[in-house]
C-alpha cells in the first residue's frame, strides 16, 4: 500500500467509493469525536469498462435478515463447499452449480479484484424503455420550433423498440394517442383541475384491464400493448407519425392578453404523465421528460398567477412568507414525485426561460426520482440542444448511459449502522439490523430507490459506528460494507451490481495518527457540504452556516496542532490542509448562499450538487482557475483576486459556468488585432488555448455549462469576480499594495480573514 492518496484513488476507480475516513475509529464515542462522520460517496454505476458483467445470479447468504451476497471477503471452505457470510457469520452451502469450485477454480465474485461485480439477471420479462415527452406549448415561436427539432432529433437517438408517448400542455393538457391512422387523436384535460390517478386513468380509458395488471405481472405483456398502445408506442412503428405530430405542434392557441402570462398547466400535465405511466407500466424503467418554458400559472402546482405585474416569488418573498403558491405547489409536486418514485419512473425537467420557471417547487420531481434538471435561457440555445442530446449519449458498449428503477441496499458488519443517504433517491423504508436510529440525510432505512441514474450519479451515504467503547474490535479486525444495486440496465436487462469493501478499525486514542492520515479531506468536504445543503433545504441559511463553522472549528480543534490561545501556532496536517479552504468556498457558494440567486437557481445548483461525483462536486465548491500567459504553460492558480492580472487569460470552471477572462492588457492587445498579425501568432495561440480547453470541458460535462467569454471590465466578468477569494477589496486595497490582482468590490471576508478567525477560535478554549 503506497500512500493513502493512491489507495483512495484506486478504491474510487475500482469501487466508485470514497470514504471520509479510510481507517475507522472503533468505538461510537470516538467516532463522534471525529467531527466528520464516517461516510462515503458512492457512485453505484461507475463506469467500469474492465468489468464484464457475469451472466448468472448472485449467491445470497441464507439468513433471511442478512441476505448478503457472496464476496471476496467471505471465508470459504472449498472442501465442504461452504462459505461464511462476513456480515452475519452465517455458514452457507454453495449452490449446486458451484460444486466445481476450488482454490484455483474460483468464481469471479470470490476474486479480490472483483470487490465490485455485476450480475445479469436472466429472469423476468424485459420491458422496453419508455420515454414520455411532456411538452409546453406556451413558447415563443422560435423556441417552440427549436424544441420541436430537438425532440424530433431525439427520436432518432432512441432505441427502436423504446416506447414513446407525447403529452403537450398549455392552457389545456393533451395526451396524444399515437396509434391512430389518418386522424390524429388526443385526450384533452382542463389545466385547472386536480385529478386523482384513478380519474386520469378512467378518463384515458386505462382502467378496464386494471385487474390483470395489478395481479399478474408476468401476464402483463399481453395486456399492455392493448392498454397503453394508444399512448405509448414503439418508436419504430410510429416514428413518422410522431415526427409529423411534433412538426404540426402549434403554439398554445389561447389568446394571452397583454400584461398576462400564458396559462400553463404544468402541474396537471405532470400529474397526467405520472398517472398514465402509473396505470400502464408501473415498475418499468421510464422517463418523463418535461420541457417547460415558463412557470406553471394555473391549476394545481401553479407557482405564480397570470398577472405579469405580480412577479414570481423571490428568496425575499419566501423569507417574508410572501410566496402564496409555493407551499401548495411544492406539496403537489412532492406528491407526484413520490408516486413516480414508487412506480420506479423518473422525471426530467428541462426548463428554458429567462425568468424563473418554478424549479423550486418542482425540484423534488427530479431530485426524488433521479431525473435530470436542466435550466437554460431558451430552447433555441446550444446549451439546451447539446445538453439534451447528451442525455442519449452512449457508453463504450453502445448502451445508453442511463439506468432505471434501481434499489440500493446497504449492508454493514455489525459494528456499523447506516444512518442515511443524500442523493437522488427516496427511502424504501426497509428497517433492518443495520439501520441506525440517528438519521443523516434520508435515513431510517437500509434501502433506497433511485429511479433514474447514470454512471456519475453519486450518493452520499452516512454511517454510524455503533461499537461500544468497552467492546473493542479485535486487533486487525475489519469493518465491511456491501452495496447492492439492482437496476434496469438501458439494454432493459435487470442487473445487480455488488460492491463490497472493508476498512481497518483503529482505536482513536492510540492510533489517532493512523486515522488522521487516512482522512480523505476531499470526500469529507463534499460529504459535509451535502449535509449542509441537505440541511439548507429545510433550515434557515445562517443556521446552516453556523453549523458548518462549528463543525469546522471542532475539527480544527481535534486535529490541529497548536498551543492554546496562540493562533499563530496553529497547524494542520497535510491530510487536513485544504479542508478549511473548501469550507470557506462552500460558505460562499450558491448552494448555501441565496443572495443574488433566484430560488430556481438555488434549486438547480443544489440539485446537481446532490448527485455529482466527488470531482465535480469539488469543482462546484471551489471552482478551478487556470491561468494562461506568455510566462509559461497554462497552470492552475489560486482562486483569488490576486490571480487576476492584466497579462493573463484566466479560465474558470465552476461546473455550471466556464468563464474565460482576458486580462486588461490581453484584452487591449486583442482589440488592437495583434492576433491577426502573423508576427504575433503566438498571441493568437495564447488566445486560442483557453478556448480549446474550455471546449474540452464543454464536451464532457452534463449539463452543459454556460460558456462565458469576457474580458477585463466586461459586465460578465462578474462571474469570475464573484467567485474568487476577495483578498483585495476596496477596503484593504492600499494595505495590500497595488502590485498584483484586481480589487473586488465586496464586504465579504477573504480567505485570509476567515483563516485568521478560524485559528483564533480553534485555539481558544472557550468553545
Amino acid at each position: 500500500m503506497a500512500t493513502y492518496l493512491e489507495f483512495i484513488q484506486q478504491n474510487e476507480e475500482r469501487d466508485g467509493v470514497r470514504f471520509s475516513w479510510n481507517v475507522w475509529p472503533s468505538s461510537r464515542l470516538e467516532a463522534t469525536r471525529m467531527v466528520v462522520p464516517l461516510a462515503c460517496l458512492l457512485t453505484p454505476l461507475k463506469e467500469r469498462p474492465d468489468l464484464p458483467p457475469v451472466q448468472y445470479e448472485p449467491v445470497l447468504c441464507s439468513r433471511t435478515t442478512c441476505k448478503a451476497i457472496l464476496n471476496p471477503l467471505c471465508q470459504v471452505d472449498y472442501r465442504a463447499k461452504l462459505w461464511a457470510c462476513n456480515f452475519c457469520f452465517q455458514r452457507n452451502q454453495f449452490p449446486p452449480a458451484y460444486t466445481g469450485i476450488s482454490e484455483v477454480n474460483q468464481p469471479a465474485e470470490l476474486m479480490p479484484q472483483f470487490s465490485t461485480i455485476e450480475y445479469v439477471i436472466q429472469r423476468g420479462a424485459q420491458s422496453p424503455l419508455i420515454f414520455l415527452y411532456v411538452v409546453d406549448t406556451c413558447l415563443e415561436e422560435d423556441d417552440l420550433q427549436a424544441l420541436k427539432e430537438s425532440l424530433q432529433m431525439s427520436l432518432s437517438l432512441l432505441p427502436p423498440d423504446a416506447l414513446v408517448g407525447l403529452i403537450t400542455f398549455g392552457r389545456m393538457v393533451q395526451v396524444h394517442e399515437l396509434s391512430c391512422e389518418g386522424i390524429s387523436k388526443s385526450y384533452v384535460f382542463r389545466g385547472t383541475k386536480d385529478l386523482t390517478a384513478k380519474q386520469i386513468q378512467d378518463m384515458l380509458g386505462l382502467t378496464k384491464p386494471a385487474m390483470p395488471m395489478q395481479q399478474a405481472r408476468p401476464g402483463q405483456p399481453q395486456e399492455q400493448p392493448f392498454v397503453s398502445g394508444r399512448f405509448l408506442q414503439p418508436i419504430h412503428k410510429i416514428d413518422m407519425n410522431l415526427t409529423d405530430l411534433l412538426g404540426e405542434l402549434q403554439r398554445d392557441p389561447w389568446p394571452v392578453t397583454q400584461g398576462k402570462r400564458p396559462l400553463r398547466s404544468t402541474g396537471v400535465a405532470l400529474s397526467i404523465a405520472v398517472g398514465l405511466l402509473e396505470g400502464t407500466f408501473p415498475n418499468t424503467g421510464a422517463r418523463i421528460m418535461l420541457f417547460t418554458g415558463g412557470p406553471p400559472t394555473q391549476g394545481p402546482g401553479m407557482v405564480v398567477g397570470d398577472e405579469l405585474k405580480v412577479p414570481i416569488r423571490s428568496w425575499h418573498d419566501i423569507e417574508k412568507d410572501n410566496a402564496r403558491f409555493m407551499k401548495k405547489a411544492t406539496k403537489h409536486y412532492e406528491m407526484l414525485a413520490n408516486r413516480t418514485a414508487t412506480n420506479g419512473h423518473c422525471i426530467d425537467i428541462y426548463a428554458c426561460a429567462l425568468d424563473q420557471t418554478g424549479l423550486l417547487e418542482m425540484k423534488c420531481c427530479a431530485n426524488l426520482t433521479g431525473g435530470h434538471m436542466v435550466m437554460g435561457d431558451s430552447f433555441n440555445t446550444s446549451l439546451f440542444k447539446q445538453t439534451f442530446q447528451r442525455i442519449f449519449s452512449k457508453d463504450f458498449n453502445g448502451d445508453f448511459r442511463m439506468a432505471f428503477g434501481a434499489t440500493l441496499e446497504v449492508k454493514t458488519s455489525r459494528e456499523l449502522k447506516v444512518a442515511g443517504a443524500i442523493g437522488p433517491c427516496v427511502s424504501l423504508n426497509v428497517k433492518g439490523p443495520c439501520v441506525s436510529e440517528n438519521e443523516l440525510g434520508v435515513g431510517g432505512t437500509s434501502q433506497w430507490k433511485i429511479c433514474g441514474l447514470d454512471p456519475t450519479s453519486t450518493l452520499g451515504i452516512y454511517f454510524e459506528v455503533v461499537n461500544q467503547h468497552n467492546a473493542p474490535v479485535p486487533q486487525g479486525g475489519r469493518g465491511a460494507i456491501q452495496f447492492v444495486t439492482q437496476y434496469q440496465h438501458s439494454s432493459t436487462q435487470r442487473r445487480i451490481r455488488v460492491t463490497t469493501i472493508a476498512r481497518n478499525w483503529a482505536d482513536a486514542q492510540s492510533q489517532l495518527r493512523h486515522i488522521e492520515a487516512a482522512f480523505d479531506q476531499e470526500a469529507a468536504a463534499v460529504l459535509m457540504a451535502r449535509l449542509g445543503v441537505f440541511r439548507a433545504e429545510s433550515e434557515e441559511g445562517p443556521d446552516v452556516l453556523r453549523w458548518l463553522d462549528r463543525q469546522l472549528i471542532r475539527l480544527c480543534q481535534k486535529f490541529g496542532q497548536y498551543n492554546k490561545e496562540d493562533p499563530t501556532s496553529f497547524r494542520l496536517s497535510d491530510s487536513f490542509s485544504l479542508y478549511p479552504q473548501f469550507m470557506f468556498h462552500l460558505r460562499r457558494s450558491p448552494f448555501l448562499q441565496v443572495f443574488n440567486n433566484s430560488p430556481d437557481e438555488s434549486s438547480y445548483y443544489r440539485h446537481h450538487f446532490a448527485r455529482q461525483d466527488l470531482t465535480q462536486s469539488l469543482i462546484m465548491i471551489q471552482p478551478i482557475l487556470y491561468s494562461y500567459s506568455f510566462q509559461g504553460p497554462p497552470e492552475p492558480v489560486l482562486l483569488d483576486s490576486s490571480s487576476i492580472l492584466a497579462d493573463r487569460i484566466l479560465l474558470m470552471d465552476t461546473f455550471f459556468q466556464i468563464v474565460i477572462y482576458l486580462g486588461e492588457t490581453i484584452a487591449q492587445w486583442r482589440k488592437a488585432g495583434y492576433q491577426d498579425m502573423p508576427e504575433y501568432e503566438n498571441f493568437k495561440h495564447l488566445l486560442q488555448a483557453p478556448l480549446d480547453d474550455a471546449q474540452e470541458i464543454l464536451q464532457a460535462r452534463f449539463p452543459m455549462p454556460r460558456y462565458i467569454n469576457t474580458e477585463h471590465g466586461g459586465s460578465q466578468a462578474r462571474f469570475l469576480l464573484s467567485k474568487v477569494n476577495p483578498s483585495q477589496t476596496h477596503n484593504n486595497l492600499y494595505a495590500w499594495g497595488q502590485e498584483t490582482g484586481a480589487p473586488i468590490l465586496t464586504d465579504d471576508v477573504s480567505l485570509q480573514v476567515f483563516m485568521d478567525h478560524l485559528k483564533k477560535l480553534a485555539v481558544s478554549s472557550a468553545c
Binding site: 389518418g182 386522424i183 382542463r190
Partner: protein, 1119 residues
C-alpha cells in the same frame, strides 16, 4: 338594403309591386272587391255542398279555379281583367249586401251592437237588413225546422251569410233557391248603399294601393289619397257602414250569379270580405254579422230537431245556434252521455263544420291581397292563401291576435273571458311575392326612440309643432326630433317624407342596430353552427352516423346566407360523443383533422380554440376527410352510454370561447345514463297518468338543464335536438334546453335508415338551411291601458318584459297575453309594437319592428265579432300545455272547458238576441271554438291514449309551445283529403272533408295530415285500377300495410297523389312521413286517432257530444 323589390320604381317597401299595380288599377278601378269576388263565389258555392249538388256544382268548381289563378300568380293581368268586371259588379254587389243583411238578421245581437257603435252602420244595416232579414228568416226558419242539417252548409266563412242561406239549402235543399233569391234581393239594397259608400270608399282603397305605391315616387299624388284613405277608415270605424259598402260593392257579382254563376255570384261575397277586411273590423262584426248570419243558421242546425220548434220564435235569432239542452243531455267529456239517442238526433252535418268555414274563407278572401292599412281588421284565416300588403300594420304572418277589437275596460274583458293574446312570429318567412322587411339604417345615432318608453319610431307616432317634435303613440311623451331626422309636415300633419321612410309608413321594418345594442358594446362576430353527433353503439348501428356524415358533406354548402352573400358567414364545428366528447380541429392548414378527446365530462371545457370553428369553404378538404372518417373510427364501438348536458355545455363553451352566438345541432340516441352532470334515470311510469303526479312526467328530472339553458341563453347559444330513441329518453328533460334557447326538437323513434332517412334528412336540411336570428331579445310594448303579462313559446325570460331568445327562426312563434291595466280609448285604439333585437346570420345586429293597431270597443259584440278562433285555440292550447306542468291534467281540461263556456255564455248573455235557453247560440267568429277546443282536449297531452308514450306527450307538448296559428290549426284538426273524388286533371287540392270516420268511403283513398303525420288511408273496396295505378299491385290485399313510400309510377293518379303529398310536405315545417293504412288493418287504429270529430278510444268526446256538453255548461252559467 332594399327589400327585394323587383321593380325599380318602387323603392323600399317592396311589396309585390307587380301585383300591386295590378291591383291598383284594376281593383281600385274596380275596387278591391274585384279581387275578392272570385273568392266570394267560391265561398258561396263552397259552403253549400248542397249547392253544388243542385245547380251550382259547376259553379263551385269554377270559383276555386278562378281563385287559384289570381292567387297563385297574383298576376295583374288575370286579376285585373277579372276585377274589372267584378269591380262594378262588386259595387253593386247585392251579395255583399245580402251578406250584410244576413248578418244583420242573423245576428241580431250583432245588428244591434253595430248599431250602437256606429251610427252610420245602422243605416246601412237597415237597408240591408230588410232584404236579408226576409231571406234569412226564411232560410233560418227552414233550416231550423229542418234540423241541424242545414247548419254546416252555412259556415261559408265569416261572411257566413252565404252559409246561413246555405243552411237552408242544405237542409231543405230548397234553400238554394231561397238563398239565391235572397241574394239578389240583398244585392239590390246594398247597391244603393254600396254606391253611397263607394263614393267614399274608393278613396280609401285607392289610398292603400297608393300607400303601397308611394314606394313609387310617381304616386306623389297618391300620398294624399292614402292619407285620406286611412283617415276614412279611422272615421269609418264609426261607420262600419263604410266598410260595408265595400262589401256591398263586391256583391255586384250577384248579377253574375245568374248569368255566370261561377264567377259572378261567388265573386261578390268574398270581395266584400277581402275588401272589407279593413272595413270589416271597422264595421264591427256587424258586417261579419253576415258571418254570423250563418251562426244563426247554426243555431238552428244544432238544436237539430227539438229546439227548432222553439226557434221560429226568435226569427232573427236564427243566426245564433240553438241547442236544446233538455232534449240533449250534454255528455261529459269523459263519460259519454248515457242517452246516445239524443246524440243521434243531432245531425253532424248541422253543426259548424271547420271544413266549411275554411273553404268559405278561402273562397271569399283568398284572392285579394290583405291590405293592412286599416286598424283592427281581422285577417283571413291561416288556411287561406292570401297576399299581404303592408300599409302600416304588421302582416298577419307576423302577428295574429285573438281579437282585433279589444274591450276598453278590464271589466269587459273579464266578463267576456276572451283571452287577449297575440301570436307573434317575428321572423316569419314570407311568400316570395311579399317583400321582406325593409332595412333602415339611421347611422351612428341608431333608431329613433321615445325617450320615456323607448318605443321605436313607427307610423303611429304623431309629429307635432311643424315636425320638430313627435308624440309617442304608446306613452304620449313628447320628444324632440333630432335635427338630422327633421322633416316638414304636410297639411294633414303627416311628414312629407312619410312614404320614403319605412318606419313611418310600414307595419314591419328593420333597423340596423348600433354598437350600443350589442353585447359588451362590440359588434358581434358571425355566428357558428356546431354539429354534435352521438357515436355510441346505437347511433352507429342504426346507420345514423354514416348517413348524417354523408349528408353533412353536401349540406354544408347550404348554410343560411344573408341577402346576396356569396357564401355563408357562418362557421362550423364538429363534436362527436358517447360518454366522452371528441372535438375536432379542422383548421384549413391541417392535412388531416385532429381529434381531441375530453373525458372530463364533469367539468366540461373546450379543448381548442383555433381550428374548431372554421369557414366551410376554407376547410372543405379537412371537413370532408373528417366526415369520411367519423363513421369508420367508431365503427367498432362498444360504448352504449352517453352523456348529454356536458355536450351542450361544451358547445356553449365553444361559442363563448369564440365570442359568438350560434346554434348547436345535437344528434342524440339514448337516455344519458353515463356518470356526468345531467345524468338521468328512467322514470317513465304510466301509472302516474291521471293522477296528481302526472305533471312530473312533463317536468324535467333535474334542475341542471335549466341552469345550463340559462347559460346558453346568455351566450346566444341555441340548441336544436334530433332524437333517435329506441326507448324512453325523457324528452321532457332533454328538451328543456332547446325549449329555453329557442331551439327545435325532432324525434325519430326507432330510427332506421331505410325507413326514416328521408324524413330525417329533409328535416335536417330544412333546419340547417333556414334563416335564423341569434342572441335575440324581444320586447312587446303596448299603448297605455294594456300590458303584456304572459308569454308562451321557446325562449327564456329573466325578467318580466324581455323575451330572450338564444336563437329564433322563421318557424318559431311567441304567444303574448295582454291584460288591462287601465282604460283604453276607442278613439286611439290599442297599439302593439314588437321589437326584436337579433344578430343575423351574417353577424349583423338588427332590430325588427312589428307594429299593429287594434280597435277598442265598449260593446262586447264588437269583441265577439272580431275574434279569431284559430288564434284563440293557439293561445288556449299553449296555456293548457303549460298548465300540465303544474296542475293535474284534469284540472287543466276543466279550466279550458269552463273558460270556453264562459266566453260563449257571455256572448249569449250580452250579444245574442233573446231566445230560448234551449238554444245554443254561438258567435259567428267562434262557431268553431267548441270543435277545436274538443280537439285540444282530446290531444295526446291532455288525454293520452294507451299507445302514446310519455316521450311523445312531452315532445308534442313542447312542439305546440312554439307553433304558429296555422300549425296549431291543422295539428288539432287534421286535414282529410279524398283523393279519387275529384277529377285527376284538377290541379288543385281536393276539398277536404271533416275528420270523422263517417266521412270515409270505403271505395276511396284519403290523405290525412296534421303537420306531423301523413296517412294514406285506403278503403277496402277501392277500385282495382286505382290500387294498381297507385301501388302497382293488383289488389287491395296485396298492398303492404305501413308502406311509407308510394312507388313512382307513370300514370296520372300516381303522379297526382305523389304531387299532392309533396305539396303537403312543402307546406309544413317538418317533413311528414307517409304511412299507408289499409281499412280494417291494425294500423287503422293509429289513423283513427286523428279523426278528431269522432269519439276517441282514450275517452275523448265526439264533436257532437262535446257540443252538447258545452251547451249544458253554458246553460248552467246562464241560469
Amino acid at each position: 338594403m332594399n327589400v327585394n323589390q323587383s321593380a325599380p320604381p318602387v323603392p323600399p317597401f317592396g311589396q309585390p309591386q307587380p301585383v300591386y299595380t295590378g291591383y291598383h288599377q284594376s281593383s281600385y278601378g274596380g275596387q278591391p272587391g274585384s279581387t275578392a269576388p272570385p273568392t266570394p263565389y267560391g265561398a258561396y258555392n263552397g259552403p253549400v255542398p248542397g249547392y253544388q249538388q243542385t245547380p251550382l256544382p259547376g259553379v263551385s268548381r269554377a270559383p276555386p279555379s278562378s281563385e287559384a289563378p289570381p292567387v297563385s300568380t297574383a298576376q295583374a293581368p288575370c286579376g285585373q281583367a277579372a276585377y274589372g268586371q267584378f269591380g262594378q259588379g262588386d259595387v253593386q254587389n247585392g251579395p255583399s249586401s245580402t251578406v250584410q243583411m244576413q248578418r244583420f238578421p242573423g245576428s241580431q245581437p250583432f245588428g244591434s251592437v253595430p248599431l250602437a257603435p256606429v251610427v252610420s252602420q245602422p243605416t246601412v244595416l237597415q237597408p240591408y237588413g230588410p232584404p236579408p232579414t226576409s231571406a234569412q228568416v226564411t232560410a233560418q226558419l227552414a233550416g231550423m225546422q229542418i234540423g241541424g242539417a242545414v247548419a254546416p252548409a252555412l259556415p261559408p266563412v265569416r261572411l257566413g251569410y252565404g252559409p246561413p242561406t246555405s243552411l237552408a239549402p242544405a237542409s231543405g235543399s230548397y234553400p238554394n233557391s231561397g238563398l239565391y233569391g235572397s241574394y239578389p234581393q240583398g244585392q239590390a239594397p246594398p247597391l244603393s248603399q254600396a254606391q253611397g259608400h263607394l263614393g267614399a270608399q274608393p278613396p280609401q282603397r285607392s289610398a292603400p294601393p297608393q300607400a303601397s305605391g308611394f314606394t313609387s315616387p310617381a304616386s306623389g299624388g297618391p300620398p294624399m289619397p292614402s292619407v285620406t284613405g286611412p283617415l276614412l277608415p279611422g272615421q269609418g270605424f264609426g261607420g262600419p257602414s263604410v266598410s260595408q259598402p265595400n262589401h256591398v260593392s263586391s256583391p255586384p257579382p250577384q248579377a253574375l250569379p245568374p248569368g255566370t254563376q261561377m264567377t259572378g255570384p261567388p265573386g261578390p261575397p268574398p270581395p266584400m270580405h277581402s275588401s272589407q277586411q279593413p272595413g270589416y273590423q271597422l264595421q264591427q262584426n256587424g258586417s261579419f254579422g253576415p258571418a254570423r248570419g250563418p251562426q244563426p243558421n247554426y243555431g238552428s242546425p244544432y238544436p237539430g230537431a227539438p229546439t227548432f220548434g222553439s226557434q221560429p220564435g226568435p226569427p232573427q235569432p236564427l243566426p245564433p245556434k240553438r241547442l236544446d239542452p233538455d232534449a240533449i243531455p250534454s255528455p261529459q267529456l269523459n263519460e259519454l252521455p248515457p242517452q246516445q239517442k239524443t246524440r243521434h238526433r243531432i245531425d253532424p252535418d248541422a253543426i259548424p263544420s271547420p271544413i266549411q268555414v275554411i273553404e268559405d274563407d278561402r273562397n271569399n278572401r283568398g284572392s285579394e291581397p290583405f291590405v293592412t292599412g286599416v286598424r283592427g281588421q281581422v285577417p283571413p284565416l291561416v288556411t287561406t292563401n292570401f297576399l299581404v300588403k303592408d300599409q302600416g300594420n304588421a302582416s298577419p304572418r307576423y302577428i295574429r291576435c285573438t281579437s282585433y277589437n279589444i274591450p276598453c275596460t278590464s271589466d269587459m274583458a273579464k266578463q267576456a273571458q276572451v283571452p287577449l293574446a297575440a301570436v307573434i312570429k317575428p321572423l316569419a318567412r314570407l311568400p316570395p311575392e311579399e317583400a321582406s322587411p325593409y332595412v333602415v339604417d339611421h347611422g351612428e345615432s341608431g333608431p329613433l326612440r321615445c325617450n320615456r318608453c323607448k318605443a321605436y319610431m313607427c307610423p303611429f307616432m304623431q309629429f307635432v309643432e311643424g315636425g320638430r317634435r313627435f308624440q309617442c303613440c304608446f306613452c304620449s311623451c313628447i320628444n324632440d326630433v333630432p335635427p338630422q331626422y327633421f322633416q316638414h309636415l304636410d297639411h294633414t300633419g303627416k311628414r312629407v317624407d312619410a312614404y320614403d321612410r319605412p318606419e313611418l309608413s310600414l307595419g314591419s321594418y328593420e333597423f340596423l342596430a348600433t354598437v350600443d345594442y350589442c353585447k359588451n358594446n362590440k359588434f358581434p362576430s358571425p355566428p357558428a353552427f356546431i354539429f354534435m353527433i352521438d357515436v355510441s353503439y346505437n347511433a352507429i348501428r342504426s346507420g345514423l352516423v354514416r348517413l348524417l356524415c354523408e349528408e353533412l358533406k353536401s349540406l354544408l354548402d347550404f348554410l343560411p346566407r344573408e341577402g346576396g352573400a356569396e357564401e355563408s358567414a357562418i362557421r362550423v364545428g364538429f363534436v362527436t360523443y358517447n360518454k366522452v366528447l371528441h372535438f375536432y380541429n379542422v383548421k384549413s392548414s391541417l392535412a388531416q383533422p385532429q381529434m381531441m378527446v375530453v373525458s372530463d365530462v364533469a367539468d366540461m371545457f373546450v379543448p381548442l380554440l383555433d381550428g374548431f370553428l372554421v369557414n366551410v369553404s376554407e376547410s372543405r378538404a379537412v371537413i370532408t376527410s373528417l366526415l369520411d372518417q367519423i363513421p369508420e373510427m367508431f365503427a367498432d364501438t362498444r360504448e352504449t352510454e352517453t352523456v348529454f348536458a356536458p355536450v351542450i355545455q361544451a358547445g356553449m363553451e365553444a361559442l363563448k370561447a369564440a365570442e359568438c352566438a350560434g346554434k348547436l345541432f345535437l344528434f342524440h340516441t339514448s337516455l344519458p345514463i353515463a356518470e356526468a352532470p345531467g345524468k338521468l334515470k328512467n322514470r317513465d311510469d304510466r301509472k302516474l297518468i291521471n293522477t296528481d303526479k302526472e305533471k312530473t312526467l312533463f317536468q324535467p328530472q333535474t334542475g341542471a338543464y335549466q341552469t345550463l339553458a340559462k347559460e346558453c341563453v346568455a351566450q346566444g347559444c341555441s340548441v336544436d335536438l334530433f332524437l333517435f330513441p329506441n326507448q324512453y329518453v325523457d324528452v321532457a328533460t332533454l328538451s328543456v334546453v332547446p325549449q329555453l334557447t329557442g331551439g327545435s326538437v325532432y324525434k325519430y323513434a326507432c330510427f332506421q335508415v331505410e325507413n326514416d332517412q328521408e324524413r330525417f334528412l329533409s328535416d335536417l336540411r330544412r333546419d340547417v338551411q333556414k334563416v335564423v336570428g341569434f342572441d335575440a331579445v324581444m320586447r312587446v310594448r303596448t299603448s297605455t291601458g294594456i300590458r303584456a303579462v304572459d308569454f308562451f313559446g321557446a325562449f327564456y325570460m329573466s325578467n318580466t318584459t324581455d323575451v330572450e331568445l338564444a336563437g329564433l327562426d322563421g318557424d318559431k312563434t311567441v304567444t303574448v297575453e295582454f291584460k288591462h291595466d287601465d282604460r283604453l280609448n276607442e278613439e286611439s285604439g290599442a297599439l302593439l309594437q314588437c321589437a326584436l333585437l337579433y344578430t343575423s346570420c351574417a353577424g349583423q345586429r338588427r332590430l325588427r319592428i312589428h307594429n299593429l293597431a287594434l280597435n277598442c270597443c265598449t260593446q262586447l259584440a264588437d269583441l265577439y265579432r272580431n275574434c279569431e278562433t284559430d288564434t284563440l285555440i293557439n293561445y288556449m292550447a299553449k296555456f293548457a300545455y303549460r298548465g300540465v306542468l303544474n296542475s293535474p291534467v284534469k284540472t287543466v281540461r276543466d279550466t279550458l272547458i269552463t273558460q270556453c263556456a264562459q266566453i260563449l255564455a257571455c256572448y249569449r248573455k250580452n250579444c245574442a238576441s233573446p231566445s230560448s235557453a234551449g238554444q245554443l247560440i254561438l258567435p259567428e267568429c267562434m262557431k268553431l271554438l267548441p270543435v277545436y277546443l274538443n280537439c285540444v282536449l282530446k290531444s295526446d297531452v291532455l288525454q293520452p291514449g294507451a299507445e302514446v308514450t310519455t316521450d311523445d306527450r312531452a315532445y308534442v307538448r313542447q312542439l305546440v309551445t312554439s307553433m304558429d296559428v296555422a300549425e296549431t290549426n291543422v295539428f288539432f284538426y287534421p286535414r282529410l283529403l279524398p283523393l279519387t273524388k275529384s277529377p285527376i286533371e284538377s290541379a288543385t287540392e281536393p276539398p277536404a272533408v271533416r275528420a270523422s270516420e263517417e266521412r270515409l268511403s270505403n271505395g276511396d283513398i284519403y290523405l290525412l295530415e296534421n303537420g306531423l303525420n301523413l296517412f294514406l288511408w285506403v278503403g277496402a273496396s277501392v277500385q282495382q285500377g286505382v290500387v294498381q295505378s297507385l301501388f302497382s299491385v293488383s289488389s287491395f290485399s296485396q298492398i303492404t300495410s305501413g308502406l311509407s313510400v308510394l312507388p313512382v309510377l307513370d300514370n296520372p293518379l300516381s303522379k297526382k297523389v305523389r304531387g299532392l303529398i309533396d305539396s303537403l310536405r312543402a307546406q309544413r315545417s317538418r317533413y311528414m312521413k307517409l304511412i299507408v293504412v289499409k281499412q280494417e288493418d291494425k294500423l287503422e287504429m293509429l289513423f283513427k286517432h286523428f279523426l278528431v270529430e269522432d269519439k276517441s278510444l282514450s275517452g275523448g268526446a265526439s264533436y257532437v257530444d262535446f257540443l252538447c256538453h258545452m251547451h249544458k255548461e253554458i246553460r248552467q252559467l246562464l241560469s
